[in-house]
């Protein structure tokens, strides 16, 4: 019974990791950018949401609604002013710039909010649970998982059903030809980064409700997200969800065996998958 329980908890945890990873997956799919600051941007979004909660007295879910357009703007500007300048055939500059940004964000948060851990409080929702036959699951993890699925469905709808999505895919396939067709890659990239930051706010909301956060936790969350993206297969959002689930399940099963092995088990699952399937489980982008 304990195994089935860990399995289900792990799948639900995978939903949270998929939320962390969806923005990364989107940005990588469109502009081949590996954003090392994504984890810190999620933590930053959590603090912005928290600020609206404490300043305006909003419920965290409402605060996230206010934070989302703001983070869209920040993402858009970040891409326009900084990241577009370093994108190119050389992978070094974007990696180093986002790495620098990660350090800057962590320390800026540390300076403004101190190292104390914070939390987004939603009252009884945090502890309420559903019983599914013999298994009891928390309402919040279930909501997280459903949100992850919704985010992926919406992103896929945008990608395959809208003009913006067509521009995304065209730029992803061949930026030069897309440009000839009247698409401006720089502005497409900025929109994509804005969208990724909206997803970051959603991820931050569930991160902040689920557990305490402090300025330093970005990189460790980021590493799970990257693992999910890689083992899911680059460019596939459903693959990212599957990757998140694999990492989540490995972590909860590892923790059931020995609490000290939780994180290690997730990493080992990642290494096992890439040694069997180096392109990930559901690869879409080939380059």
């Amino acid at each position: 019974m304990i195994w089935i329980d860990s399995l289900i908890q792990g799948i639900l945890l995978g939903g949270l990791y998929a939320l962390f990873a969806a923005g990364l997956s989107l940005v990588f799919g469109i502009m081949r950018l590996v954003n090392l600051a994504h984890g810190d941007l999620i933590v930053f979004s959590a603090y912005i949401t928290l600020a609206f909660v404490s300043l305006l007295g909003l419920h965290p879910f409402l605060a996230a609604f206010v934070a989302a357009p703001m983070m869209f703007g920040i993402g858009w500007l970040l891409q326009r002013l900084v990241l577009n300048r370093v994108l190119g055939p050389d992978i070094l500059p974007p990696l180093l710039v986002t790495f620098g940004l990660s350090i800057v964000l962590q320390n800026a948060l540390l300076e403004t909010w101190s190292a104390d851990s914070r939390r987004l409080s939603v009252g009884t929702l945090e502890t309420s649970s559903l019983s599914l036959g013999p298994i009891t699951v928390g309402v919040l993890p279930v909501m997280t998982f459903i949100t992850a699925i919704l985010v992926i469905v919406v992103l896929n709808q945008i990608s395959f059903k809208t003009e913006l999505g067509r521009a995304f895919r065209a730029t992803s396939d061949d930026p030069v030809t897309a440009q000839l067709m009247g698409i401006r890659p720089n502005s497409i990239f900025a929109t994509a980064m804005g969208l990724a930051m909206v997803i970051a706010v959603i991820a931050a909301l569930y991160l902040g409700i689920r557990a305490n956060f402090d300025p330093s936790i970005g990189p460790t969350r980021l590493i799970y997200a990257f693992e999910a993206v890689i083992i899911g297969g680059l460019g596939s959002l459903w693959g990212t969800l599957l990757g998140g689930i694999i990492i989540g399940v490995a972590q909860t099963i590892g923790a059931t065996i020995n609490p000290e092995w939780q994180i290690l088990a997730g990493h080992i699952a990642f290494l096992v998958v890439i040694s069997i399937k180096p392109r990930g489980l559901m690869p879409r982008a080939f380059d």
């Binding site: 081949r32 590996v34 090392l36 900084v82 300048r85 370093v86 992978i91 070094l92 500059p93 974007p94 990696l95 180093l96 710039v97 790495f99 620098g100 940004l101 990660s102 350090i103 800057v104 962590q106 320390n107 800026a108 540390l110 300076e111 990189p219 590493i223 990257f226 693992e227 890689i230 680059l234 000290e260 994180i263 290690l264 990493h267 080992i268 990642f270 290494l271 890439i274 040694s275 180096p278 380059d287």
Partner: protein
């Protein structure tokens, strides 16, 4: 008659300048205090780490954010040899390098499977796995770490000799020993990397960086060179790790595998100084040291400023401070570029030199 040359006038002058600087550096313990020596030790060991990372990223295009794996592995191997097998710390440093080299084989196996920039993530995951595994090693203190015992650090090879030579206390003699070892390591590192880049293999490495497809079509074995560079960098990084922790004499997994201390700082040093040159990390480590001293009292502001400088350099001067200087003046101290030189005009190399 034409022939291929890499030497420039600046590099010939710098060679003699370097010998003088080296003689002075060797003699520093005769006139400087312990604080200066400890600062110099820090600068030299960070320089070694920066040179190896620069070889990987700047010349090999392999951006690793997991070099802390090799520092930590080296440090723990050194502690293991001393504490569990009773070795002297100095020869244990060699084992530190070997341990890091061994770790780099599975790391390369996994990380090379990942495309492009995801290589960085692969190295980072391995570093985390190593840190978490080492934290399970109970004989070396597990998650809380351990110290080298007084008896182990008292009779390190060479300390008695330094005590007699300079008439100093044991603790001071230990700092001097660490400093000299760091100096040797730094000189060997720079010498080796310079030699490597001027060799056939180095030419292949630069060719792969500049045009991957063209280099491969001319028969450069990309896989073999990548493996070689990654493994040798791990060895050098492991040696530095062992040496740094011989001097610290206290270890814990979080400190020895710190991504901030052993990778972030190193990246900033290389980026600020100038990535893809041997001179860059030398300039970078000096700037880094000065910044650290100036901003030491400002805590997290220091890292914030360092990050902003790093980003600004990547945006506006991607070749770093040395790159700016070199572009303006044409001076290269460690030239690795091959130039065709006419026999009778070997001093007219202003434009290329």
């Amino acid at each position: 008659m034409y022939h291929v040359e890499t030497k420039t006038r600046a590099s010939k002058i710098a060679f003699y300048g370097g010998i003088v600087a080296l003689i002075i550096a060797v003699a520093v313990p005769f006139f400087a205090g312990r604080a200066t020596l400890q600062d110099m030790f820090f600068i030299l060991t960070m320089l070694v780490l920066a040179q190896w990372w620069n070889l990987l990223a700047g010349f090999g295009g392999l951006v690793s954010v997991g070099q802390q794996a090799f520092v930590g592995m080296g440090a723990y191997a050194m502690f293991g040899m001393v504490i569990l097998l009773g070795w002297d710390p100095v020869p244990s440093i060699l084992i530190a390098g070997l341990a890091a080299l061994i770790l780099s084989i599975p790391t390369a196996f996994f990380a090379f499977r990942l495309q492009g920039a995801y290589f960085a993530i692969g190295t980072w995951v391995i570093a985390e796995v190593t840190r978490l595994s080492v934290a399970q090693w109970k004989q070396l203190g597990g998650g809380t770490g351990t110290s080298l015992s007084r008896s182990a650090t008292k009779n390190i090879w060479g300390v008695e000799w330094i005590k007699d030579l300079l008439d100093v206390k044991t603790s001071a003699a230990r700092d001097i020993l660490a400093y000299w070892l760091a100096l040797i390591l730094a000189v060997l590192t720079i010498g080796f990397i310079y030699w490597l880049l001027r060799s056939r293999r180095g030419l292949g490495l630069s060719a792969l960086r500049d045009n991957f497809t063209a280099a491969k079509s001319l028969g450069v074995d990309a896989g073999a060179i990548k493996w070689f560079v990654f493994l040798i960098s791990a060895f050098g990084t492991g040696l530095a790790g062992g040496l740094i922790y011989m001097q610290k004499a206290r270890i814990s997994p979080d400190a020895a595998f710190s991504v901030l201390d052993w990778t972030a700082y190193v990246i900033f040093i290389v980026v600020i100084g100038g990535i893809g040159t041997i001179e860059g990390p030398i300039i970078g480590v000096i700037v880094f040291f000065l910044l650290q001293n100036m901003l030491a009292d400002y805590g997290s502001w220091y890292l914030l400023i360092l990050g902003v400088i790093g980003i600004a350099i990547m945006l506006f001067a991607p070749k770093g401070l040395w790159g700016l200087f070199s572009q303006k003046t044409g001076i290269q101290i460690f030239p690795v570029q091959r130039r065709l030189v006419h026999k009778n005009q070997n001093s007219e190399d202003k434009n290329n030199g």
